[in-house]
Amino acid sequence: MKEFETDYRHAKPGQGGPGVVDYLDLDTKDQTFLDSTELVLNMGPQHPSTHGVLRVILKLDGEKVLGTECVIGYLHRGVEKIGENRTYTMFNPYVDRMDYVAAVSNGLGYCEAVEKLLSVEAPPRAQYIRVVLTELCRIASHQVWLGTHALDIGAITPLFYCFRDREEILRIFEKYCGARLTTHAFRIGGCLYETYDGFEQDCKTFCDFFLPKLDEYEELLTTNRIWVKRTKGVGILNPEDCIALGVTGPVLRASGLKWDLRKAQPYESYKNFDFEIPTGLNGDTYDRYLVRIEEMRQAVRIIRQAVDGLPQGPIMAKVPKVIKPPVGEVYHSIEAPKGELGYFIVSDGSTQPYRMRVRPPSFVNLQALDKMVRGLLVADVVAVIGTLDIVLGEVDR
């Protein structure tokens, strides 16, 4: 194949052709008069702090970062291609595997996108159940983020505390749908499983158990001078850059923009609940930390309201056994814990989609890494990657 003849990894600058980044030709305007030898350093795919298999090529001037390039694709499994060869019902379990930390929200986005294509709406009870599980999933995802982020910065104990809370959530998932991680909780048209006996009680017990724990984590980290020194002013992203790069989720909100799809384009039954959108002031790592902690508190608020107001009724809409949506395309996005998770499905009238495109939040957020780490020290790169909250399963699909 002619266009791949030149192996771009060994190409000289300018030789790669259109669309190829010459990583050795990064912006070098920040060099000082005392030009020390620049170092091209590889934070390789196997790395304790890159949250998966991510390769980050850093161009360093001593300790300062001049530029970065991310090399991804180590976890590419061809999920979108698989989607073109499975029926809509069959593809449901595959979406859990993309953002494997928060599988429930992936399923939610997919089911809603297909329901939009079919022009059906899940019944109210199913919507409430979906909201409860999605908010629990948000807390679970943020707990993984908190634990691993603290671990990267050096505080080794919050990881275990966070995973203990996550255990409680995964237990609820197991009781509800039969699996802890790859939940396959929802079906197109509603939910398959009715809530088990004690579902409401379990959720309430979890909420009561969890809020004091959140206060404990704040006591451990928020005012800790070492934590503040490591995260304040590190990785600042201003709102204009956020919008230009397409960054969404807590990263966007910490920069100051109050944009959350649950309020801006309400889906499911979110308009029935009363909750707030936390925003930050400076767009640095500390603000992102505070925003996510507050989001967990608001998630508990939503869960309590949803569990109290769970309506009676059917849990599955009238959807045919063999799903053949009309010809057309749909883009539907939800506020996943990491940002805007979008599904663009093109249907050609058959049982299998023509194109199943996923817009993963981590993939788009990762592009902001370059902008955030210019001028920072090497130790901060790790903190910034942690604060973006990327999951490589989503980035690579």
Binding site: R86, M90, C177, T182, H184, R225
Partner: protein, 153 residues
């Protein structure tokens, strides 16, 4: 800086608060580790684990009527069912029933599709084997279920 924050900074109050939290969790009663082979986890009813072919408890014959719905529902197409019609009872009976456990993702679509409650995903999760060939289960293995070696009797 006013007095109170200054005092907090000098007397390292924030660091001591953090130390209190970790001190609090020290007693072994707070440890949440399950020492696995000794203490097995509680598995809930809806858990999607090892598949099993159920039989009629009274007559002992398999509940499977070879409708092939499970094979059609599986996203990985790893179920292969072959049956032939029994002229006496006018029902299909299983000849070979194969389930490839190595490619299964335990999504549960097959058990959902089964029309007679024959195929069920049980709560067993200890499915480790020494060979790949052993992961392809036939009808006898599926009806028997698992027999893992017990570490502690």
């Amino acid at each position: 800086m006013s007095l109170k924050p200054l005092l907090r900074k000098i007397l390292l109050v924030d660091l001591i608060k953090g130390l209190k939290v970790t001190f609090h969790y020290q007693p072994p009663s707070e440890a949440i580790t399950e020492q696995y082979p000794l203490e097995r986890p509680v598995i809930y009813e809806r858990f999607r684990g090892q598949p099993r072919l159920n039989s009629n408890p009274d007559t002992g014959e398999s509940l499977c009527i070879v409708c092939n719905l499970c094979a059609l529902a599986c996203p990985e197409q790893l179920i292969v069912v072959k049956g032939e019609r029994n002229p006496a009872t006018k029902r299909k009976e299983v000849v070979t029933w194969t389930y490839d456990l190595s490619r299964c993702m335990f999504c549960g679509l097959c058990a959902e599709a089964c029309s007679t409650d024959a195929l069920e995903l049980t709560q067993d999760y200890e499915m480790a084997l020494y060979s790949r060939e052993g992961m392809i289960l036939d009808q006898a293995a599926l009806e028997r279920g698992q027999e893992p070696t017990r570490y502690a009797k």
